[in-house]
Symmetry: C2
Subunit: 322 residues, 2 copies
């Protein structure tokens, strides 16, 4: 069950109006923000409080997280010179606060800790667009217009992602998740050519660590078999694709994570229960289903719904099927 | 081939900074804006210059189109009282400029004229969100939280859409397109329950007119069979789903429209040609493929690319296969 504490009043109180990237540099706050949801609900795992832009900010990319908008760059990266300015990530020197927070957390936690990273394509889309996008027009313009530059960018990001994930694994996380949130904007041919090699390299880069890796995207129903081949032990899918269909495409030798629509939690309990039971029914008795939302918890989500949902899932998965 | 003239300098000159809804009330300008792309390219059809918010503005909904953002309402509709304030559309009284522009156009045009409307769900999403959205959180909150209100809203919108389309058909358009652009945000169950009945009613409402109706959405690969059952003679699909797969799902007894990614046109010609040829190859020799972009033309698209694309498609479809 994925949790971002922004729906909790105690989260908003602790965070205040500080940029999230600044908060991520304060290990004691990261520990507290990671623990907050667990004090509210008996979750099966904790997710490291962080942001996909953390490793990029750590190497000096001038990115900030604007409230209500997301990652924002005043000077997006759109040419060879911009890509050349990206340097490699040395986690010990550049982001020691990440490892420190993880070491503190694993001492305190009684459940596994999940670390994460943005995937090369999704990180690149923010760097190129300068913010969130619906069309990914500039990302694709660079991809088609200067494929060598685009591939260099994804290659550089893949190196950064591997270093970022290895540092988290080294510090003690028990699983990692790779967020390729926006890769569903691509067609299969472009995924194969422009994304697959770099995502595959990320999974190869952490392959020796023997820790489960989750590969996540939104609106990726048309890419699931390719994403599976790129790598990962478990696959996060959103509500658009029925869980059983998605699992059949991925193959039952891999695990699946999902896929309740987070927006359902903004309504009354009835539809939440109905749709959660539908997800569980589609997962069936098979081992390897991680019940989760299809995407992040939305800001106005009632905490009581989440608590009730956790209880519902626990009381319906006693046989270890999910 | 869908065309919105915003990529043309002569379009930007004529439009100036006037709200698009105001421009839509000036039949002479609508005629000119509709004809502009045809003067540049030998297109097979003309698309009426309009906006999906036209019929809602015509009944007094205080909506404006913000440049770079889209339809914007300062007071979104989120409760029964808001829905109750929506009145029916009387095209003759409320939007005579629409029919007038169409009558002027069909006299001038040598190719068919395509009219259009937003679909009930997509219109509702703008009314409820107050603007564009990535999560459709408030739309879904109303849908799950007050399903009766939501269904009344979609019912009222279906009536408005039918009136708007019938007026266009009466004035002489040769085909109509129903844009359910954002319905891909829903899962299959919700589509079936909340959208299907109202969309089906729209197609039933215009069924007597014997004019082809196109049913369009973005990211609807998981809904295509349901959308087909809701109605339409042709189905618009975007680049996410391979055209041959989409057509097989819809069935070859219906026509298909698509599906070049408009973002490809922002790069060099090579990938445009390659992807356009791939679309044509996937359509094969079968009758009933309308070559089109998967979504609207993006603002910075080079006109020369569009011209070359039209020529490419024409020179490769002599056998009437597409």
């Amino acid at each position: 069950m994925r949790q971002a504490g922004r729906y909790l009043p105690e989260y908003r109180e602790l965070r205040g109006s500080v940029d999230i990237l600044e908060t991520c540099r304060r290990p004691e706050q990261v520990v507290e923000l990671t623990l907050q949801p667990l004090r509210r609900m008996p979750l099966d795992a904790a997710i490291l409080f962080s942001d996909i832009m953390v490793p990029l900010a750590a190497i000096g990319v001038p990115v900030r997280i604007e409230a209500g908008r997301g990652p924002t760059l005043d000077e997006p990266i759109r040419d060879a010179a911009g890509v050349a300015r990206l340097r490699g990530l040395d986690p010990e020197a550049d982001e020691p606060h990440v490892s420190e927070a993880i070491r503190l957390l694993v001492k305190e936690l009684e459940v596994p800790l999940i670390g994460f990273s943005g995937a090369p394509f999704t990180l690149a889309s923010y760097l190129i667009e300068g913010g969130p996008s619906r069309t990914f027009a500039r990302t694709k313009a660079l991809m088609y217009g200067e494929p060598a530059v685009f591939e260099r960018l994804l290659g550089a990001l893949a190196d950064i992602v591997v270093a970022h994930l290895l540092a988290q694994l080294d510090a003690g996380v028990h699983a990692v998740q790779l967020f390729d949130s926006w890769v569903g904007a691509l067609d299969r041919d472009d995924y194969r050519r422009f994304v697959f090699p770099h995502t595959a390299r990320v999974f190869e880069g952490i392959a020796g660590t023997d820790v489960p890796a989750i590969h996540f995207g939104v609106g990726t129903g048309h890419l699931l078999d390719l994403m599976r081949d790129a790598g990962g032990d478990a696959f996060g899918v959103d509500h658009r694709v029925p869980l059983d269909d998605a699992w059949a495409t991925i193959g039952h030798d891999r695990a699946i994570q999902g896929n309740l629509d987070p927006a359902v939690l903004l309504g009354p309990w009835g539809p939440v229960e109905q749709k959660a039971r539908d997800v569980l029914a589609r997962a069936g008795d098979r081992a390897g289903h991680v019940f989760n939302l299809g995407h992040g918890v939305l800001p106005d989500t009632p905490v009581a719904h989440l608590q009730r949902l956790v209880d519902l899932v626990h009381s319906n998965t006693e046989r270890g099927g999910s």
